[in-house]
Each structure stands twice: as structure tokens, then as C-alpha cells.
């Protein structure tokens, strides 16, 4: 593994290996000296062409705890705002001797494109509506800590599927780990062509959240619920009549929370639109693992950076 652009770059063994490394990294968070020397002398650049709080700071802390030098470049305040092309910006930064490039870009496929221009290891931190592999890894890792193995477990993914790279990465990661997945969305936010995809990948689709949460869907009761953010910034048309109507149909409200068993973990990749896709009662419930996802994310990103950058970078994952 030279880059991490898509969950598809990983074998199932790679995923398990990353999870085991992440578990070791998790222990570092509880230490007084939160520092491992594994990436000493390596330089990691975070290039974020889209806003981000948790992903960027999590990659930054992950790199720093592994002793790498981490630099942040954001589109605002960089030469991109003066009209420099993505290729020129990336090549300029890499000319400074960068070992790892963490990139988020609004265009699907940007990370793949960048990986073809540079020698550095590229990590896709979200490319448009395509993929967000570290998010999927941290979601699966968090769920695995709660559910044990994901083999045969039922995960419901609910919300704005059309615009969601988190969902696209998660489907691959969860099904690879043997989970059964039901995706729920209003018809307007269900990606076109999902029928063929779900048939091929073996997941279920539904327009009825209540039915899925009651366990009346094809996969029965959910062992975990993953709520997705309604991505207003990517919506150019009217996908639902009003926020209120979305909440009534597809929000995890207090009433719907009552349908879930108290040990069913509730995930949300953040940032949450409280009151829209998730009610405060659900977001702050004891079974909500939203903050745990953040600390898992740090461990997963440390594991990813470690595997990409610590060893002989000409070799693969051992």
C-alpha cells in the first residue's frame, strides 16, 4: 500500500492490521508523554481545499504524536486563491521534500489525480462525493469495539446518501468486514443507479426509516445506526421541501431513539446538524458514540500514517 485513496486499496487483512495497530495507538492517548518516535524526520502536509475541523486536526495530531513534522495548507490563504492550479500547488509543496500528503478536495477523484503527480504517499481525506476512507475505517473500528466482530451484524446508514463520501467508503468497508448494511434515504437523496450497486455489493435500500428501526426491514433489527449529515453546501436543488419535513421522515428523533435497544451504538461522522438529522436526545444519549469516533479517528489516522510512512516507503505493508 503506497497510498490510501479508497477502501478498495486495502485488503481485508490490511483493514484488520490497521485496526490492531490503531488499538496500540489508542493506548498512547492515555499516556503522559503522547509521543512515539516512529515518523521522526518525516514531513506530512495537510492540504485542505474544503473546510474541516475534526479530520484536519486529527491528522495533524496523529502526525505530531508520531513525531512527524506536520504542515497545514488550506485553500484560503494559499496561492490557490491567487489562481494557482491544483497541480502547481501540489508540486510546489512536494518540491520541499514532503513524505506524506493528506488531501481533501471538493472534486471527486482529486486524491487519485494528485497521487499520479507526486512521489509522496497520498492519503485521501475526502474527495468530493467519492470517498473518505479514514472515516469509514474509524467508523468500523468504533463499531467493532462495541459489537465485537462485525461479521453478520446489521448496520443502518441513514441520510443524505447522494452527497455522502462517508457512505460510499463505509459501504465498502462494512461489507468487506462481513456486516449486513441497510441504507435509508428519501428518494431524492438516494443515489441514482443504487439498485444495481446494492444488488452487486449485497446491501439493502429502504425509504422507510421507522420500518428499519423497528426491525421490520429485510435485515431485521439494527445492531448499529449511522446518521449522515445533510450536506447543504453540496445541494444545488430542492431535495426535500423543508428541513422540518426531512426531520419528520428521516431524522433520528426522540421517538425513533425509543425504537432502538439501549446498547445500539449511534454514530455520526460530524459535524452534526442538531435538530435536523439527529435530535439532541440522540446525539447526547448514552449510546451515542460520536465523541468516541473522534478519538478512534485519531488512532486510525496514526495507524494509517504509520503504515504508509514508517517503514521503507519503497516496500508495501508488512
Amino acid at each position: 500500500m503506497k497510498h490510501l485513496l479508497s477502501i478498495d486499496d486495502l485488503t481485508t487483512d490490511d483493514i484488520h492490521e490497521l485496526f490492531e495497530t490503531a488499538a496500540d495507538m489508542h493506548d498512547v492517548q492515555g499516556r503522559e508523554v503522547k509521543k512515539l518516535p516512529a515518523l521522526r524526520g518525516r514531513t506530512v502536509v495537510n492540504m485542505f481545499f474544503e473546510d474541516s475541523t475534526r479530520t484536519r486536526s486529527s491528522f495533524e495530531i496523529a502526525g505530531k504524536w508520531l513525531s512527524a513534522d506536520v504542515i497545514n495548507v488550506s485553500a484560503k490563504g494559499s496561492s490557490t486563491s491567487k489562481g494557482e492550479s491544483l497541480r502547481d500547488t501540489v508540486l510546489t509543496v512536494c518540491a520541499m521534500g514532503v513524505d506524506g500528503l493528506v488531501i481533501r478536495h471538493p472534486a471527486s477523484g482529486a486524491a487519485l489525480q494528485v497521487s499520479q503527480w507526486v512521489d509522496a504517499a497520498v492519503v485521501n481525506a475526502g474527495d468530493g462525493m467519492h470517498e473518505h476512507p479514514t472515516q469509514a475505517l474509524l467508523d468500523a473500528y468504533t463499531l467493532q469495539r462495541h459489537l465485537g466482530s462485525l461479521e453478520g451484524r446489521h448496520v443502518a446508514i441513514v441520510g443524505d446518501l447522494t452527497h455522502s463520501r462517508v457512505f460510499r467508503s463505509n459501504i465498502q468497508c462494512l461489507t468487506r468486514l462481513g456486516a449486513r448494511v441497510t441504507v435509508v434515504a428519501p428518494p431524492t437523496l438516494m443515489p441514482s443507479g443504487i439498485g444495481a450497486w446494492s444488488a452487486a455489493a449485497g446491501f439493502e435500500t429502504s425509504y422507510d426509516l421507522d420500518e428499519v428501526l423497528r426491525g421490520a426491514g429485510a435485515h431485521g433489527a439494527a445492531d448499529a445506526v449511522m446518521m449522515l449529515r445533510v450536506q447543504r453546501e453540496r445541494m444545488s436543488g430542492a431535495f426535500f421541501p423543508s428541513p422540518r419535513e426531512y426531520t419528520v421522515g428521516y431524522g433520528l428523533t426522540r421517538d425513533r431513539l425509543a425504537l432502538l435497544k439501549p446498547d445500539v451504538p449511534i454514530c455520526h461522522p460530524g459535524p452534526m446538524n442538531r435538530g435536523l438529522e439527529i435530535a439532541a436526545d440522540a446525539a447526547d444519549a448514552a449510546q451515542s458514540v460520536v465523541l468516541e469516533q473522534v478519538s478512534s479517528g485519531l488512532a486510525i489516522r496514526m495507524a494509517v500514517l504509520y503504515h504508509l510512512l514508517a517503514g521503507d516507503t519503497r516496500g508495501g505493508m508488512a
Binding site: E17, E20, T21, A23, D24, D27, R31, E32, V33, K35, L36, P37, A38, L66, Y306, H307, A310, G311, D312, G315, G316, M317, A318
Partner: protein, 189 residues
Amino acid sequence: MPAPDETVPDPATVRADRTVLDARDISRALTRISHELLERNKGATDLVLLGLHTRGVPLAKRIAEKIAAVEGAPVAVGELDVTMYRDDLRSQPTRRAHKTALPPGGIDEKVVVLVDDVLFSGRTIRAALDALADLGRPGAVRLAVLVDRGHRELPIRADHVGKNLPSALAERVSVRLAEVDGTDEVTIS
């Protein structure tokens, strides 16, 4: 006349492993190390045994059991992974890291005994000392190994040695332990 394959030894078996320590030798060596540790430390108070992955971990547990049997009280034991601290991390494909688990009392001001199977170049121990510095500040650090085979590349020595085994650089010393390999023996080949 016997068939040739019964009289002429197969070259592969001639060169094969020579057993240096068997299960009883290993047990005796660990018993001696346990007593040496207790004698040097004047008891088991403040003693923390840290096994280095992979085979130092079961060795540390065995020494802890022997000490507990002598002293009648449990002794703190943990495991230490030094993968991230190795100086050859760069020159190889990424290595798997293992778990580091310290006993509940931590290592601050304790007498930490690093336990490993073979002392060779000393580079693993150097890495372990660096790892310890990130985990706390022990009062003292000692080193116990089952086998010291020489060929040090760093100014490091062991305080407690199960067996000194002078070896050629080309020879291969293998420690097998029941917990990991299903059998107890030290061989050289």
C-alpha cells in the same frame, strides 16, 4: 549392507539445530535469575518486570511466577513493545507494532527489569530504554536475558544472564518457548 540413506547422514540434519538449553535448563536458568533479582533488590518491593515482545513477555511472566512463589506475594509484570523506537524502522517494510501494557502502579521510581530472550547487538535494548523514557522515570533499569550470544554493537550489558553462549556471527540462535512455539528449547545452528 544397510541402505545408503541409513548410514550417510543427510547434510541437512548435520547442519541442523544443536540444542543448547532444554526445558529443564531454561527453568533452572529462570529460577536462578529470579533469585538473583530478589537478592540484588533485597525483595520484590518496587520491582516491575517488563517483557519485551515477543518472547520476553512469557519469560517475564515465568520469572514473576517464580518470584511470587518464593516471596509469597505477586510481583508487577507488564509488556513492552519497542517497534516504534527501533533504529532500523526505516530500512524495512513497515513492521507490526504490538501492545505495550504497564502494570497498574506504572514504572515511576520503580526498579524496572527488562526481560528478553536473546541479547545480541543491543539495539533492541537501546530502543527499550528510549521507550521507557516516554513512559515514565524508573528509579533503576536492569536487564535480564535468557541467552547472551555476544556481538554487541552498543555499550549495553545484561545484569542477569541465563546462559552465555559464545557464537559466530553467522550462527543462528533460536529460543522457543511453550507459550509461543509450543516447546521449550534454545538451539544454535
